[in-house]
Amino acid sequence: MSDAAALREPWPDLQRQREGVTVGIWLFIASEVLFFGALFLGYTVYRTLYPEAFRIAAAETNVLYGSVNLLLLLTSSAAMTIAVDASQQEKRRTTLVCLGLTMLLGTGFLLVKGLEYSDDIAKGLFPGPHFPLQPPQTQLFWAFYWVMTGVHAIHLATGIGVVGVFAFILWRRLLPLGSPAIVGVATYWHFVDTVWIILFPLLYLVDRS
């Protein structure tokens, strides 16, 4: 398939378009970093103010679920990297299989996260009047736990959707394999993975040794 099919207005050539997509996606990621940055700031402020409460609260997180999820996401990023390389070498089947694998591992993450959420709720770890832990500042940790993992899960679900649509487009040959769009999709996926790499120690490894 020719490169011309992947070229879009207003780009003069495919190389330039690829650079443009790279610039665009990294600008978007800069924006996302500040979006999560506000959360990290709040977390840091409260953990500095209430280290003891954060230690008590974080002991209740389930490090097994967190670690399994870390493994799933790291593997998914590896699959995504292979997909990008395969697409640039015009290896169609490998690309599609690896994109599918990426989605599968991402979905696995969401399933494990769902199991973990139901465990947490069963233990009453959603902040409110009957919260099981003391002092009250432990609820701050759990508030951040829910917001951080929730916002991350929404990002991941969006990522799965984007990868799915993109894989479908490649499968139906609506875009050629060499389309620069894959750079954008992959960079976003790796970003969502990276956020989990940061969330994991913040939520699961506080004072655990």
Partner: protein, 558 residues
């Protein structure tokens, strides 16, 4: 910029304009043409400008007497909150970038379109979605938090539709981020051959710097509003002091966005004025490079001054001192710009067309707004003036006297380019002067009563302030007339206006070298740029072919 380009365009038959490229409603709603998206934005923000205007007109009417006229205190709170939310996020933030920026950025750098045309259309739909939440808030009864959504009032006590209002602002924020990403990528990747960074018009630099601020500040607003929503909607204690949370954290997050947001609103205005003043003074802009560095400096420093909104919120004295100092520093590049606009006028052959009247109004009003900002950056004076009408007057001088004046200047300046029609110059000049007078009549009295102790957001007030409030309300009426007038003569111009030539003002920017209105693809072929955008001096007017200086940028083949 090159005579060769002008020659080429003239030699061939003109292609149909972007307006003629499709006439159905669907062709507009599915367009990816940056010029049409600019028009979609212009219609939407004009609608919100008048909704926000009606809200504040009712407020000003209510304030005619110390006991109020017809509003309950709750309705009063909801009206000024609505005014703030709509004017900031649905008018001022998108005003110049989403309309003129969208229309002109590709034209000024010699590109066919912005980098991501479909993302550009998506940004408008995000705006519409955010607008839908806001209209829902309005219809279902409004919100009473003010535009700042301060916790714990917004999270625990407010009675209005806080979640819907916050959702509207959250969504419209992503529309600004999309626009910002698009503009930065466009400025980096799609400049025409020979369009080096220091040949960019200052308007493009303003769009570039404002986009950086949009991309890096808006997400923090989004997160702070999301945190308010999860606390209010799900009871998660983020800012709840009874469980150790800190409401001041919300203010830090909010102002980390909202102070740069002030510069999101003013940087584009500076860009517009930097185009208009050289054209009508027939002078090259004074100190071009300094103007560029001043824009960059303002964008960078804008991220470090947010604490001056919190001098009385319990910050440490050290933090107050640092933020006060940095707030004084940000005045330096702003002052450089004012001096350079003034120096551009020096020995110019000034004519007073409507865009120039608005632009000169901008310079004066922005200077007053900026200088009173220095009063407020000083901690002891700010403690006296906090939450008074002095603050209201200060930021309206910058936001309305500054940004809205510049928006009007730009709208009049580029109207012939955008629509292909001329408007009534006499009426436009009348409206420009009325705006200036009405604006001063509205906000000068607010400085005085604010300094004398009239607090903002109060519905009832002591009798001694009545004279000032009446003056201000009468001024608001004049201002309202001045804002409705353009709607009339611009509407008239669309139907009956004289056809505009390609370059009615004899301006030298690249956008004036294509036809009015421009063809769908902007230029017949991508132009080659040999010089900067401001070429108003006699020595610059030599045909480019005679210019023997080696101006070709690196890597370009002759």
């Amino acid at each position: 910029m090159t005579d060769a380009v002008i020659g080429d365009v003239a030699a061939e038959t003109p292609p149909p304009s972007y307006l003629g490229a499709g006439h159905t409603l669907l062709s507009w709603l599915t367009t990816t043409d940056h010029k049409r998206i600019a028009i979609l934005y212009a219609i939407s923000i004009t609608f919100f400008f008048f909704i926000g205007g009606i809200a504040i007109a009712l407020v000003r009417l209510e304030l005619m007497t110390p006991q109020g006229l017809f509003l309950t205190s709750d309705a009063y709170n909801r009206l000024f909150s609505l005014h703030g939310i709509i004017m900031v996020w649905f008018f001022l933030v998108p005003s110049i970038p989403a309309t003129m920026g969208n229309f002109l950025l590709p034209l000024m750098i010699g590109a066919n379109d912005v980098a991501f045309p479909r993302l550009n259309l998506l940004s408008w739909y995000l705006y519409v979605l955010g607008a839908a939440f806001t209209i829902y808030t309005l219809i279902s009864g409004g919100v009473d938090t003010g535009w700042t959504f301060y916790a714990p009032f917004s999270t625990n006590y407010a009675t209005g539709y806080v979640i819907a209002a916050a959702a509207g602002v959250f969504v419209v924020g992503f529309s600004s981020i999309a626009t910002g990403v698009n503009f930065i990528a466009t400025a980096h990747m799609l400049r025409a051959p020979g369009m080096t960074w220091f040949r960019l018009p200052l308007f493009v630099w303003a769009m570039y710097t404002v986009s950086l601020v949009m991309v890096l500040a808006t997400p923090v607003l989004a997160m702070s509003l999301l945190l308010v929503v999860v606390e209010r909607g799900f009871g998660l204690p983020i800012f709840d002091a009874t469980r150790g949370g800190d409401p001041i954290l919300f203010q830090h997050l909010f102002w980390f966005y909202s102070h740069p947001a002030v510069y999101i609103m003013i940087l584009p205005a500076m860009g517009v004025v930097s185009e208009v003043i050289p054209c009508f003074a027939r002078r090259t802009i004074f100190g071009y490079t300094f103007m560029v560095y001043a824009l960059i400096a303002i964008a960078v420093i804008s991220f470090m001054v947010w604490g001056h909104h919190m001098f009385v919120a319990g910050q440490s004295p050290l933090a107050n001192l640092v933020f006060s100092f940095l707030s004084f520093i940000v005045a330096v590049p702003s002052a450089i710009k004012v001096f350079n606009w003034t120096a551009t006028l020096h020995r110019g052959q000034i004519t007073f067309e409507a865009p120039m009247l608005y632009a000169l109004g901008f310079v004066g009003l922005f200077t007053i707004g900026g200088l009173t900002g220095l009063f407020l950056a000083s901690v002891p004076i700010d403690i006296h003036a906090t939450d008074s009408y002095f603050v209201i007057a200060h930021f309206h001088f910058v936001m309305v006297g500054g940004t809205v004046s510049a928006y009007m200047a730009g709208l009049h300046f580029w109207w012939p380019k955008i629509t292909g029609r001329m408007y009534s110059e006499a009426w436009a000049r009348f409206a420009a002067i009325t705006t200036f007078l009405g604006f001063n009549a509205t906000f000068m009295p607010q400085f005085v009563m604010g300094w004398n102790g009239m607090p903002r957001r109060y519905h009832h007030y002591p009798d001694i302030f009545q004279a000032w409030h009446v003056m201000s309300s009468v001024g608001a009426l004049i201002l309202a007339v001045a804002y409705v007038l353009p709607l009339v003569y611009f509407g008239w111009s669309l139907l009956y206006g004289r056809r505009a030539p390609a370059n009615p003002w004899n301006a030298t920017g690249l956008e004036w070298q294509t036809s009015s209105p421009p063809p769908k693809e902007n230029f017949h072929r991508i132009p080659r740029i040999h010089a900067g955008p401001y070429r108003y001096h006699a020595s610059d007017r030599l045909p480019m072919a005679d210019d023997r200086t080696p101006v070709r940028p690196q890597g370009e083949t002759p």
